[in-house]
């Protein structure tokens, strides 16, 4: 593929992530933090996020499958996930977490189960999309190209 074309498609793809609301401006913050001294910052953070979130989601599934759900255990997990997703700009995950927490507050097991599914769905979506994004970037870098800077004014 042509480098320019690849760069163009990366840009379009990134843009679509924002337009779909999968990511928000916080992700731009991450991108800004990535510089020569720390060239893989974004993917490092995101990878950490994936690891962390996988664990949290696993824990959440276990907690919610208990006979008696201990909401004192569930809530901090959701809080954690909300914090980290908000930090990387995964706003749909974050929004789902907000709803999740309100159900935790109500101690609504049924609602929590539904929210967990929702959060998982959003999480896998953002994971999938971000992995694609990174792949695209890697391809560009492998072809010797530059990662185009994100436009600020979307």
């Amino acid at each position: 593929m042509e480098l320019v074309q690849m760069q163009k498609s990366l840009q379009d793809y990134t843009k679509s992530l924002f337009l779909d609301g999968v990511l928000d401006s916080q992700f731009l913050q991450l991108q800004q933090l990535q510089d020569e001294s720390n060239p893989d910052f974004v993917s490092q953070v995101v990878t950490l996020f994936f690891q962390d979130s996988d664990r949290i989601l696993n824990d959440l599934s276990l907690s919610l499958d208990q006979q008696v759900v201990d909401f004192k255990k569930v809530d901090p997990h959701v809080h954690q996930l909300k914090g980290s997703s908000s930090s990387i700009g995964a706003q749909r995950v974050k929004n789902a977490c907000v709803v999740f927490r309100s159900f935790c507050e109500q101690q609504n097991v049924e609602g929590c189960h539904r929210c967990l599914q929702q959060v998982k769905q959003e999480y896998y979506l953002v994971k999938n999309r971000l992995e694609t994004l990174f792949k695209l970037e890697q391809q560009i870098v492998a072809s010797g190209g530059m990662i185009p800077a994100m436009e600020l004014g979307f």
Binding site: Q29, Q32, L33, N38, Q44, L48, H79, S84, I88
Partner: protein
């Protein structure tokens, strides 16, 4: 007939229910008029005959002269005639029978005589006539007697002799005589009988009886009815009245008019009404309320009809009144209720409308606030990015453009902040804080800050009267906001001369309320300038939102037009008053009077005011708290002149440097106490811009200049507060040059790096924050929860703590409380009590109370007011909403680290 129908229709249209109660045709039949029925029923009823009163002489006359009267008489006469006829017919029939009987009797007699003449013996005649007839029986009996006599006569004499014939003639003559006598008696009897019959059926008696019955019936019907009836002649004098008011006597009413009898409201009206009816000749009804002395307030429904005589001339009126007071009262009550209902409904709908409008307004305001809030975040992003952009290599033109962009962005941010402030004040959300502060310092710093961004040849001065307390209690942030606003306003509109603040204690103003009267000292603050002034006609709208003195000014000077409105609202919120006096081309003076509580100065340690931090405990400056006059003169030979002394200052050598011509017109150097020299020096060295990042390095440079007395926290906080103020004011100076930044970084290295502690449990957040810090040129320590944070704070002295609120083990609020408790008490007992495992380190200085308040900034995911209030309540200084951005972090660091 047609005519009659018409009148009927008209009457029905005019007055409802005027149609007769009874069918019209009833009453034309004479015997139906007073259809009393069985008169025995009436006998049982006790009829009181006391109500009626009539002029007896006039009444018959009336009866004779009026149509109604004559028709009634006619009816009575006709009835009498009918009965009379009937009686006569009966008599005639009887007479006829009698006559026939007599004729038959005579015929029979003749026959008998003849038989006597020709037969000596004659059989007894069997009567064939009606035996029931009494007369005839008697007659037959008599006849039989005579026959016996006659037989006797016949026996006495010899047949066919003279004597016999003589005797016979004599006896026959006697019989004839007797017969004639009988006839005469019968006639007499007949006459007698006729006479008694006549006398029995005399019309007067019949009439009287009928009248009595009619009257009795009327009484029976009307005795308890609330009805007054009467007849009045054409002068409206009563001739007849039924059911009059009990206390009135006959002579009181008859022959008199209403007006003569009664006095009070309604009488005249009823009289007029009767007259009207009389004139128009049409019966009608009207409701009239009487208000008389005699019977009080009563409402009558009055029916009046004209009365005509046979010549169709009006001779008076009949009138009937029914008392309907209760009904009228009820009706009026109903009407009133209905009216009230309508009014209530109208009010309700009005209220609903108002509520709706209010709700709409609230919603609109809320939306404005929300929108402003929503706009603020991305906008700060834009401005922040622009600022970051300005740290990259740019050519002159790009930099210029960028500066415009940043300052425009800042203006919009300012506007949004203003709107948010306003809506906060208006919605009552804004809460005032009561903190101790030193008014002198506030004035000084406001002026200092203003001088920092001053680009004009203006003298800024502060003048505080001696009697103004050193320490007062109030919402220092808001007061500063007001002062800053007024000062920047004054500077904006002043081109030469001076701008100043004057503080003095005044006596209690008249608008003070009870609570204020007790505990307050009233301080009057004048912010004066020698600027363009405000025309008198512009004064009224000066404090209105989005209004400026004129459109020209708005164009020329810019600004949001919200500043003064906010000032006014804030002052009023604090229970004070903001006024303005002005003279065109001579200047304006904005005066605000506020109540403050006087703080006792012996509890300094409790002083939470950020400005008190500026009191340098290591280098006591007694004059700083009491000096009453400051002056800032940028661009002049002496940048700083201070009315007070500057003793104890070992930086005098640097003061000389202040006189070196500087490109900068920078106010923050004017602080007399310590590090002005250094910062100036740095500036000179760098020979470039004065900017905020430069300020960051002030403490370090102080270090470098080697007075070497350990931490320079006091200086830091001093510069911090001044730059905080300056960031409130203007952000044009915040543009930093990368060259300088790099230089600073390399110059400073670890020794002078401010120590920052991040307390956060989320790895990703830590990673992001760390990276941001790095980009901003800082490093930081990490604590994963409140307990770790406390231990970290205990072991090393930090310049700033960024504290997550929600954390496992111990949350940020509790950790902050414990740290504050340590600052107050000098020991960690509260923390130990709370179960924190305090590790004792080798160089334990924990028993020494810290001299400065450690700035703790909360990092919270909720940006709601409650949450921020909770942060403040737990001793946090400020908060950053999550997710943390470069811009927020930078602002925070600027605020607390310079």
């Amino acid at each position: 007939m047609v005519c009659e129908m018409e009148t009927d229709q008209i009457e029905e249209m005019d007055v409802e229910g005027l149609s007769s109660m009874w069918p019209e045709d009833v009453g034309t039949q004479a015997d139906n008029q007073f259809n009393v029925g069985d008169s025995d029923t009436l006998k049982e009823v006790d009829i009181a005959e006391k109500h009626t009163m009539a002029d007896l002489t006039r009444l018959p006359e009336l009866m004779n002269t009026t149509d109604q009267g004559s028709s009634q008489l006619t009816n009575l006469v006709r009835q009498w005639e009918y009965m009379q006829d009937h009686a006569v017919r009966l008599l005639r029939e009887e007479l006829k029978i009698l006559t026939r009987q007599r004729e038959e009797a005579e015929a029979k007699e003749l026959k008998i005589i003849e038989e006597h003449n020709f037969e000596s013996q004659e059989p007894e005649n069997v009567p064939v006539l009606d035996e029931t007839s009494h007369l005839f029986r008697r007659f037959r009996q008599k006849k039989r007697d005579e026959l016996v006599d006659r037989e006797r006569v016949v026996i006495d004499e010899e047949f066919d002799t003279v004597a016999y014939w003589k005797q016979k003639a004599l006896s026959l003559e006697k019989m004839l005589e007797a017969s004639t006598e009988r006839e005469r008696r019968l006639i007499e009897k007949l006459n007698e009988s006729l006479k008694t019959m006549e006398s029995h059926s005399a019309p007067v008696e019949e009439l009287t009886q009928n009248l009595k019955r009619a009257e009795g019936f009327l009484h029976f019907i009307l005795q308890n009815a609330p009805i007054v009836m009467g007849h009045q002649d054409k002068d409206l004098r009563y001739l007849f009245i039924y059911n009059k008011f009990p206390s009135l006597r006959e002579q009181d009413i008859l022959g008199k008019t209403d007006v003569e009898i009664f006095h009070g409201g309604g009488v005249k009206e009823s009289e007029d009404f009767k007259r009207e009816v009389l004139e128009k000749g049409k019966a009608s009804k009207r409701e009239i309320t009487f208000e008389t002395e005699l019977f009080g307030s009563k409402t009558f429904l009055i029916y009046v009809e004209p009365v005509y005589n046979k010549a169709k001339e009006k001779i008076g009126i009949n009138y009937m009144g029914m008392e309907v007071t209760d009904q009228v009262r009820k009706r009026e009550k109903m009407a009133k209720l209905r009216e009230d209902n309508a009014v209530r409904k109208a009010m309700e709908s009005e209220l609903t409308k108002t509520i709706h409008i209010t709700e709409e307004t609230m919603r609109a305001k809320q939306m404005l606030a929300t929108m402003s809030h929503e706009i603020r975040s991305p906008l700060s992003g834009v401005v922040g990015m622009a600022e970051i952009l300005s740290t990259t290599k740019l050519d002159k033109e790009q930099r210029q453009l960028l500066n415009v962009m940043i300052s425009s962005g800042d203006l919009v941010l300012q506007l949004i902040n203003d709107i948010l402030d306003l809506s906060k004040v208006e919605s009552g959300v804004m809460k005032l804080e009561a903190t101790k502060f030193r008014p002198r310092e506030v004035v000084k710093h406001v002026l200092q800050t203003a001088a920092a961004s001053l680009k004009k040849d203006l003298t800024l001065e502060g003048n505080i009267a001696d009697e103004v307390p050193i320490l007062v209690v109030g919402d220092v942030l808001r007061i500063r906001q007001i002062l800053t606003n007024l000062i920047s306003n004054a500077i904006k509109f002043t081109h030469r001369g001076k701008v100043g603040i004057k503080l003095q204690v005044i006596s209690q103003p008249s608008f003070a309320n009870e609570e204020q009267k007790e505990t307050s000292v009233w301080i009057c603050c004048d912010v004066y300038d020698t600027g363009i002034g405000i025309p008198e006609n512009a004064l009224p709208c000066l404090f209105k939102k989005y209004m400026q003195a004129s459109a020209d000014h708005a164009r020329k000077y810019g600004g949001t037009g919200l500043g003064l409105a906010i000032c006014k609202q804030l002052v009023e919120l604090m229970g004070g008053q903001l006024t303005v006096t002005s003279q065109v081309n001579a200047g304006s003076t904005f005066t605000f009077i506020l109540p403050y509580k006087v703080a006792t100065s012996d509890d300094h340690s409790d002083d939470q005011d950020e400005f008190s931090d500026m009191v340098d405990h290591h280098q006591p400056e007694p004059d700083d708290t009491t000096e009453g006059y400051f002056q800032f003169k940028p661009l002049l030979g002496s940048i700083y002149s201070n009315g007070g002394s500057v003793t104890g200052n070992n930086f005098l050598p640097h003061k000389a440097m202040l006189t070196t011509p500087l490109k900068l017109t920078n106010g923050f150097v004017s602080d007399p106490s310590s590090n002005t020299g250094q910062s100036e020096t740095v500036q000179v060295e760098n020979g470039g811009y004065m900017d905020e990042s430069r300020q960051n390095c002030c403490p370090e440079s102080a270090h470098q200049y080697g007075n070497g007395n350990g931490r320079c926290s006091s200086k830091e906080s001093e510069s911090c507060s001044s730059s905080q103020a300056s960031s409130e004011m203007e952000s044009e100076l915040t543009v930093s040059s990368p060259r300088e930044e790099e230089k600073t970084e390399t110059e400073v290295k670890e020794t002078s790096q401010p120590k920052i502690l991040l307390v956060e449990d989320n790895k990703i957040n830590i990673m992001v924050a760390k990276s941001m810090m790095k980009q901003l040129g800082y490093t930081m320590d990490i604590a994963n929860n409140g307990v770790e944070a406390i231990n970290a704070v205990k072991d090393s002295s930090y310049d700033l703590v960024l504290m997550d609120v929600c954390m496992p083990v111990m949350d940020g609020l509790k950790a902050t409380r414990l740290i504050r408790s340590y600052e107050e008490s000098g020991n960690w007992e509260a923390a130990i009590e709370a179960g924190v495992d305090i590790k004792t380190s080798e160089n334990d200085q924990a028993c020494v109370p810290p001299t400065n308040r450690l700035p703790i900034v909360a990092m919270t995911a909720n940006t709601l007011a409650e949450s921020s209030e909770e942060c403040y309540a737990n001793g946090m200084d400020s908060f950053i909403s999550k997710p943390v951005t470069l811009q927020k972090l930078k602002q925070c660091l600027q605020q607390y680290l310079q």
